[in-house]
């Protein structure tokens, strides 16, 4: 397999890097946090994401997007990780677009993809219901009616769910929580009667939502994909989102590692640069190796997604599991090696630690994905 980027991909990375470093650095996240911004991201930046084509990266050209793949989405996610840019990109432009692209009807695609590509509509995915990500445990009930379905239940940890115009909801029409059969996906207008949204500011200063569905009526046209057999689309959607989260963690880890290395080369104690101490040199070298080895998995997962490989779930689980572990190590080493200053809110390192924690939990943590890998291997 080839690991190299094409010229176009290198150009995309450079434009994403320059734009995000300039327009959406960590200081912006701090400002949004300190101002208790109700939206939690800069609408200006989101509009520029649209102008640059980022919001349509995965949307086919016939629907007004760039028609690119997960490698390209990952390139953008990595830069987002470097600067902790907050936006609905992951939930809307990656996850929701993947679900629609995968299984949407012509009408659904025509209605939503152009608007998602332009960024004028924001979507999110509503999967989790409890503290830990267990997608097969979906319990939110879809009860058939004369004209469609009624939804009842609770969703949690819905990224940017407080501003999403539409929600892709995993519901159970048949079977019991724990069955992968019986799950149906719906596209639901977030303003529908019976939906109650609680805005939840998370530890990383990004915003999610806890959403209650009480007798929410939806028509048959809102069913996304096959009834009761939504598991495959749900998995494909989650895999895209997981690979994107892994890419963000990789970018985040690279960033904190760079900052830590820089600090080791300027901070003096005992009359010496602390980077001269072998105890720290070896830890830095080990972290470097860990990062490089995780990088291979993240690229591999993106390529497998683009190739629609049969091995894609395993590749994504490997990437998400290891990126989570690497990011956890990178941020902890960063705080420790910065010493007391690393504990202050003034330094930006803490922001990375908080985001790493959220990303690790999002769509399955390291343990969840390692367990998946073992189960797939038959042990």
């Amino acid at each position: 397999m080839s690991f190299g980027f094409t010229e176009e991909q290198i150009m995309l990375r450079e434009s994403a890097r320059d734009f995000i470093a300039d327009q959406a650095p960590v200081s912006q996240l701090r400002k949004l946090r300190d101002n208790k911004d109700p939206i939690g991201f800069s609408q200006d930046v989101w509009e520029k994401f649209s102008e640059m084509g980022f919001t349509g990266v995965l949307v086919p050209e016939e629907f007004g997007g760039m028609g690119l793949g997960h490698v390209e989405a990952g390139i953008i996610m990595e830069q987002i990780g470097h600067h902790l840019t907050t936006s609905p990109f992951l939930a809307s432009s990656v996850a929701a677009v993947t679900a629609l692209r995968h299984v949407g009807t012509a009408a659904q695609k025509n209605t939503w993809l152009p608007k998602l590509a332009s960024g004028e509509v924001i979507a999110s995915i509503a999967i989790d219901e409890k503290a830990k990500h267990r997608p097969a445990q979906v319990a939110l009930r879809a009860t058939p009616t004369d004209s469609g379905y009624t939804l009842n239940g609770v969703k949690t940890f819905v990224s940017n769910g407080h501003v999403a115009d539409i929600l892709i909801v995993a519901a159970r029409r048949a079977g019991e929580p724990g069955d992968s059969e019986g799950i149906t996906l719906f596209i639901v207008d977030s303003k529908s009667q019976g939906i109650e949204t609680e805005r939840t500011v998370m530890v990383d200063s990004q915003i999610a939502a806890r959403i209650t569905f009480k007798e929410v009526k939806v028509g048959v046209e809102s069913v996304l994909g096959p009834v009761d057999s939504g598991w495959e689309t749900l998995s494909a959607t989650l895999d895209a989102a997981r690979a994107a989260a892994a890419a963000e963690m990789l970018g985040l880890s690279d960033e904190v590692f760079d900052r830590t290395l820089k600090y080791l080369k300027e901070r003096k104690q005992f009359g010496r640069l602390i980077g001269e101490f072998q105890a720290l040199q070896h830890r830095a070298a080990m972290l470097y190796c860990d990062l490089e080895i995780t990088r291979s998995l993240v690229i591999h997962a993106q390529k497998q997604l683009d190739a629609s490989s049969l091995d894609v779930s395993r590749a994504v689980s490997l990437a998400k599991a290891r990126a989570g572990r690497t990011a956890t190590l990178a941020v902890q080493e960063a705080v420790q090696m910065h010493g007391g200053i690393g504990m202050t809110d003034e330094l930006e390192i803490g922001f990375f630690m908080k985001r790493a924690r959220v990303l690790n939990e999002l769509f399955g943590d390291t343990n969840f994905h390692i367990d998946q890998v073992a189960a797939q291997q038959g042990y």
Partner: protein, 396 residues
């Protein structure tokens, strides 16, 4: 014809040739170093199949596919060599020949040797006629290799070498040695030369060292007034350290990749066999299951990293010190693999002499592998190299 169609054609032809030329027994997984064909003057083939497979590959130059044809190689481009490697992997073909001439000295001579030196030595390596060993470490010079004291006294057209090497892999079975000697007693790194000589030269003797595995893959090697012609010096007087470092990088790549090359037991398969599965098809030992899954994760990641770095090496966009990363991580991974395999096998893997255990194959391998993080530069030295050459940390 486009490059791609040429490559496709090469792939088809290669596959057909391998299918008809590689004996079925040479397509069974190699279990250990014992199954490797090392070659050399004293080599006894393990089977006719092993001999035939080597001869057929030698004829095409495919024991060393990318070396130039005039030196016994296959003259393949790197993309053709990749295809060959992939097709061999798909058919489970064993490498026809593996030794330090192929993996270490050959690439070094290609870079630093004179045309005459290449003509003299490379074809014999390619054909498996000469087996080489490595005279690097000394009793007083391990991690601090450049402090070596084996001396080469200038005697006009030749050197006279006195001293001792240690941890010389298979010195007792090798035909020639590539050896670091001191040609300037004052200067440390710039007082070392790189010489080649025949192990049957008068004054060379070897003594095998028994290891904790009960085997003796390493030797002490003694030089008592050994006469070495100056035309057998590679890279110029007192310039041997640069040559030595280049060769070390080849060695690190080799050790790093070693865990992947020989198909040893699969950890999870071994666990299923001895530990067993519960009603939900999970390993009975839930802690072991988690450890194995972590290992599988890291192994998959490492394998992809080997591919990624190899691809980067071909386009030249890689820091040469990356080989230290592969050596460090590959060695740690291999040690983990064998700790887990010992855990999986329980008392079955503790047997040391029985037929059933293949004379303690698992236990001896587990012990042998501990050397991976010591040989070829300890892992601590590799971390120093990464800190200095890649991370550019001060004073490292």
């Amino acid at each position: 014809m486009s490059d791609q169609s040429e490559i496709d054609e090469f792939r088809t032809a290669t596959r057909a040739w391998l299918r008809s030329s590689c004996p079925p027994k040479m397509r069974l997984p190699m279990r250990s170093e014992d199954d490797i064909c090392w070659g050399g003057r004293r080599w006894t083939y393990r089977s006719d199949d092993q001999r035939m497979w080597l001869l057929r590959m030698v004829e095409r130059g495919w024991t060393v596919p990318t070396w130039p044809k005039e030196y016994g190689g296959g003259g393949l481009s790197s993309s053709q060599a990749n295809v060959l490697a992939e097709e061999m992997a798909n058919l489970n073909c064993r490498p026809p020949l593996m030794n330090f001439g192929i993996s270490m000295l050959g690439p070094t001579l290609l870079k630093y040797g004179t045309h005459e030196q290449k003509l003299e030595h490379l074809p014999k390596i390619a054909r498996g006629e000469i087996r080489w060993c490595q005279g690097y470490s000394e009793p007083g010079s391990g991690s601090d290799l450049a402090s070596l004291t084996t001396s080469a006294q200038d005697n006009g057209d030749h050197f006279v070498i006195n001293g001792q090497k240690i941890w010389t892999s298979y010195a007792d079975q090798s035909d020639w040695i590539f050896c670091l000697v001191r040609t300037d007693p004052v200067k440390k790194h710039t007082g070392i030369s790189f010489v080649l000589f025949d192990m049957t030269t008068e004054g060379v003797s070897t003594r095998p060292i028994m290891l904790i595995s009960g085997n003796s893959p390493f030797c002490e090697t003694f030089f008592d007034r050994v006469r070495v012609d100056k035309r057998n010096m590679v890279g110029g007087l007192n310039s041997g350290w640069e040559v030595a470092k280049y060769l070390l990088m080849q060695e690190r790549d080799m050790i790093g990749a070693m865990g992947e090359a020989t198909t040893t037991l699969s950890v999870s398969q071994t666990a299923k066999k001895y530990v067993g599965l519960d009603a939900q098809n999970r390993l009975e030992d839930i802690q072991l299951r988690a450890q194995i899954a972590e290992f599988d994760l890291d192994e998959a990641a490492f394998r992809l990293t080997l591919e990624r770095i190899a691809a980067m090496q071909r386009t030249g966009e890689v820091n040469p010190a990356m080989s230290s990363m592969l050596k460090y991580y590959g060695a740690e991974l291999n040690k983990r693999r064998w700790e887990l395999l010992m855990s999986c096998g329980g008392s079955e893997h503790l047997e040391w002499e029985s037929e059933r255990s293949q004379q303690g194959f698992a236990a001896r391998s587990w012990l042998r592998i501990k050397g991976n993080s010591i040989e070829g530069g300890t892992n601590e030295v590799q971390l120093n190299v990464i800190a200095k050459r890649i991370l550019e940390l001060p004073g490292a």
